[in-house]
Amino acid sequence: MTANEAAIGPLARTDGEPAFEEPWQAEVLALAYALAERGVFSRVEWSDTLGAELRAASARGEPDTQATYYAAALAALEQLLAARSDVGGEAVAARTEQWRRAYLNTPHGAPVELSAGASKPSAHHHDHDHDHDHG
């Protein structure tokens, strides 16, 4: 913190922050990049869809933060995939649930495999989220 910190506005204050607060945020951009490279959608479509999601978030009064930005990026990605591929709707919802179960069925430290999500999680463990620090 510098002596003239008070003079530094809200934008400059974020200078030097890490580009990602959570790993999934990097993965969203990486997926969008890979899909645009492959031509599943164009960069212009990506930019337009992300822009529309950002405007919608702003109109809803969401805070002007990285979290809001990446939530908009994920929504844009889901929307484009639903329109341009068969990765959307029920398939994504079902797969999300399967990953959730896989995590709940896998003990800490063991690699999480999707196949572990085939059965319902046992009730006795991992029924709550631990308070981990995401740095």
Partner: protein
Amino acid sequence: MVDHDSRAVRHIHDELHSHLPAEPALRVKALESLLIEKGLVDPRTVDAWVEGYSEEIGPKRGARMVARAWVDPAFRELLLSDAAEAAAQFGFDGTGISHLTAHENTDDVHHLVVCTLCSCYPQGVLGIPPTWYKMAAYRARAVREPRGVLEEFGVRLSDEVEVQVWDSTAELRHMVVPQRPADTEGWSEERLAKLVTRNSMIGTDRDLSRMVKEAT
């Protein structure tokens, strides 16, 4: 910034093997695994992108181009007339390079880059955009009151200096070529490149003479 990002990359791998991730993380995993199964995404592309952009590329590529433009008049001319070709001469590729335009600051003109729509940015030469570049406040204010934004970043311009704001799009992206600071005669390109800050190539930094003091 590099430290933070490399930590983030390690965190990605750790995160996959720990507790139940948050809802968006599960949704991303669902998309990614489905896309890989359908052959629409190569997992190595995703890993390489995350690692490449956070650790290797950063703004270092852009800084090398600026430094060369400072010492090599022919390269400077190329950078200002065809920045994509200038990047290609370095062997740089990646997002936002194919239609890259470079704008040179002078004593009379200061350039500032924004993407008013979302966050279009020449990642292939500048890495991942900073947080503020993605914020609604920057996207709106950079156009409406660029001088106010610049002051927030410590750049105070006299009234005689004209500010030109460039709105990046998915197809046309911009970078700024800052002015070479004084007292750097005879410096090597490599040494000069270290003076070039990321923000100076976006336009929220202008006078790099403090970097010379730090380097000497």
